[in-house]
Symmetry: D5
Subunit: 147 residues, 10 copies
């Protein structure tokens, strides 16, 4: 069993047991964003978290070790995503990429926003003109080292 086979098993068992990602996250004791990413093969769990998942989702014993290893990351089958929901985020990068760059560097100087020391929150905002998806991201700023 490799990690992508495990991801497929998690996805199937979650569907069969009718568990929401929010409830899986609650069982693990972390945010739904991070736990979902981990279950989809993008994050590594500690041993307690892995044990919880193995029990909750009826996974085989060997899954426990596999879930604690850093996975080979990258969740999409193509460089430009074809799924419309995911493509909209790629479009934001294509359209706003240079804006991200200008504004972050105007405020912080030369460097980047970390995608590693990073957290994210996705929420629903009721709105009479149509509910909105609100996403807040927070990444540590890292300055280019000069030497």
């Amino acid at each position: 069993m490799d990690r992508s086979e495990l991801t497929e098993l998690i996805v199937n068992n979650r569907r069969r047991k009718q568990l929401s990602w929010a409830s899986v996250a609650e069982a693990v004791g972390r945010s739904k964003e991070w736990v979902t990413a981990g279950c989809l093969g993008q994050m590594s769990f500690d041993e307690t978290e892995a044990a919880t998942l193995v029990e909750l989702l009826d996974l085989p014993a060997e899954a426990a070790v596999l879930l604690t290893e850093p996975p080979y990351r990258g969740s999409l089958p193509t460089a430009v995503p074809t799924d419309p929901l995911i493509y909209r985020f790629y479009e934001l990068v294509a359209v706003y990429g240079t804006t991200f760059k200008e504004l972050i560097q105007e405020e912080f100087g030369d460097g980047i926003m970390s995608a590693i020391d990073f957290r994210m929150n996705i929420e629903r905002e009721p709105d009479p003109a149509g509910d909105r998806v609100n996403i807040s991201m927070s990444g540590k700023f890292l300055s280019y080292r000069r030497y």
Copy 2:
């Protein structure tokens, strides 16, 4: 003059006049995120906004019309961005893309977050462990129509 030549002129004149994007935005009367994107050729302005920019940035008269036209969008020279700051956002899509999809659809059902009826805010959060870049995004949820 086409829009990309105008963008280059705006970038050069802003540098020469030492104006921050925040001050350009203030003159225009909109958020710094949207105004910066527009100055970089990704959004269209109304006539008053365009006139303000022409004066503020010493642009030629013909720029006024050009700034009000919808541009051919896309701010990056390659499908996978090479600049590290911008790449980190692409990496978020690559790593978290399927997570965005699962969580938005768990909450809202089948549909997408609009990248058109969309707003964004970039801010600095002081943090003793290193300041953080905070980005909040808000997009209208659009359900797939069934027919």
Copy 3:
């Protein structure tokens, strides 16, 4: 079983049972365009619709849940399609893409035609010089938000 295996099963059983897409759509109670897209793994059904399909097409029980989940969309194996019928539509985008942009924006201002709040109809028009394929599309116009 994942969604692409289910799609293959639907395609095979429909062939074996000699059902037209129009008759499948009638059983589901939606348009043939939307139902066909759904059966090919591009749309999600509600529970009643899914139950109808499971019975009509002899699908296994677990298919019922799978059909109600938003699929990872994208129906083509390559970025530029090789099948001549499908390629002709890609060719329309390549040739008429900038025309779509100019005329929609001349009429509506800056924004896009939604591909989500969208419906489509495909019909045969008899014509002595050779019958014609008529396709009508209707998508909500979405304006870029200014903020």
Copy 4:
């Protein structure tokens, strides 16, 4: 002067003279869809139409011949378009491509919809829930020859 330089000149002069595409089409005496595509370098005009355009848009004399020649078609700079409005049409092909194929072939048998013997109409449909873009396309069906 080659055709792409001429296209740029047409685009600039139309902007300067503040002419809508609809009025250019009316002067030429053809539909706005076809005339716009031609002005953007995707169709060829006859001599009378070309003469009208030369006068209307202050084009140099040599443009008259150039406008009557079949252009090297293809209006987009990349295989997958980056502009969100144009991308939405590419997305329709990606999502609905196999649906187009199934339904056209269910109705007509094996063949394609012509993209050459083809006409198109783009219209605005007022709608209280937000106006809609309506596009109707009509292409001759061509059967594969058997020999």
Copy 5:
């Protein structure tokens, strides 16, 4: 069984039974060019032709329906073919593509040669300096519609 599995079966059984493509075509009663293309998954047969193939090549019963359906066309694994024989044809398009365009349009005006209403013949021409492959192609000319 899908069409590509059927193609593999046809290829294997033809080899085992030591049948030439010419004899398969004769049994079907069509040209060797069209029948070979169909057997390789690029054309659809009528019911009589399909029945002939099923018997001649020991195919399972379900193949009969599959052979009458329009296949997803495209016979090559990469956009630029790697096999030298097939590459030479791609090279002809790369080298002579603009010549095809100039000469067809000089003779016919603006339009294309159909690849659907099309037939082809491949023959051997004995030549003391080395035999030659002669290919003749005939496609209906289609004019761009003006509207």
Copy 6:
């Protein structure tokens, strides 16, 4: 001046002088297919032919040498052509590529059809159902050497 600038000059002067490719070929004393390919930068001329072209098309003196040099071949801007006329030939390779391979090798054994020792003829065939483009190609068969 390099070869692509010379090609552009030839194309412009031919247009200005209203010469057909057939008449250019007649002046050169070769087929219209080969002469057109050469004028478009895909073949090299001998000195007499080059001198004829220089005079006929008002080319500068240095063009004479340039026309006799083997050019860097390849006439298309993208690997998959976007122009519909040229694309149809690429589609023939995609659809019929494996058929070319099977039939040529059934007749000749293992080898290729030369694209170098090659000639081609493009003609119009009147047909009441719509005139046809007839193309005949003849290439020397080359066997793989065994050693």
Copy 7:
């Protein structure tokens, strides 16, 4: 069994039987370069050669026919090879490609070196500064036909 499965079988059996390519070639009675290429699925054998290979390498009976058929050529999984030994040859093409072109055409005029009527020899040259790989290639020169 298709040709790539046969190639895998040959590779495995040769390893198991500890045969060098040179000894396989000797058994077949051809050069080691051509026989190795053929065993790796790039050349076709005659019936006697195929029979020898079937016996020598314990191949199943059906392999005999398969080895005599022209394979779909192309031995590498990516357009730019990743294996360093093979990449160095690609690098030679990238760096020396235009040199090959200039020198061959200076000597022979306009044409190509055949890769079909071609033979190759790979040898070891002892050298105190480090042994050298010597490769000699010989391909027939083919002139472009003028017509």
Copy 8:
């Protein structure tokens, strides 16, 4: 002036002065293969060689330094070359790549043939069946270091 502009100048002046590559190489005192590669921007010369080239080819003074600098190598505009002469070498890599690997490693063990400590010779071999291009390459074998 950068190196690619210098290459263009060298190519043009060599043509104007009617010098063969062989005679340029003789003047420089190195092989025609290496000198041609250098003149085409792929190798660096020493100061004496550079001075010879500057005088022989009427280059401006600043060329002398530029010719002694290591260039950014890579002489082809696309990853898969379109020119048929150069493509044939790419085809050799595609078809014989794995053969190169097997035979070099059978003889030498694990390592590569250097493309840096490398020399090459291109010659014409008269042959009644058509003259042949003979290319001999010699590269130092480099073993993978084990540590």
Copy 9:
């Protein structure tokens, strides 16, 4: 069994037996960098080393030969890696590539750093501001041969 299946087996057995790469390397008697690369299918072992690995990792007997053969190298599924840790090294090449070139050539003249006669060491450097990854690489400099 081919090499990639063997790699998968090694990865799984190492996990099951809870062995660190450092301890595997110690058993083999080589550096952890080289042994890990070899276990991941990028280097070839000698017979003693292979035997050690077969015993240590419970590999089948046939693995012993396979481990001594030069593998087809290249450990990543895409040309631009998606895993963030590995991407950072690609980013270094993208950002510092021209710097590597300038500084190595300023010091050594025209040539390359060998990636074959190469060794590498990865170590942890404790640092109060956050521990650091230290990588030292050493490759033999190879001069371009002049001939």
Copy 10:
């Protein structure tokens, strides 16, 4: 003037003034690695450093501001580099990428080596068997945040 034009100017003036990168770095007061990268458009300087460069390299006044701005990074014209020196580093990523990942994560857990908080040193190591290029890199380890 944009940054890439400035880079070209720096490269030309450095050549004309015969300054080594080491001496430029000494004048700036930073390492040769970082200064070279900055001069090649990959790093931003502070105002004093920029002023030094303007004077040392005869740059125009406006260069001073441009040198202090974060550039759009990425120094290579293609995703896979064609220059052999730079390619060797890409090859290291292709071959050793998974080894980097395994060993860094074995030592540090799940995270990455920063390419931002990063420094590098390139040195020559004399060696009787051929001098060696020694490169040492040091990047801060960043752990994935769990939340």
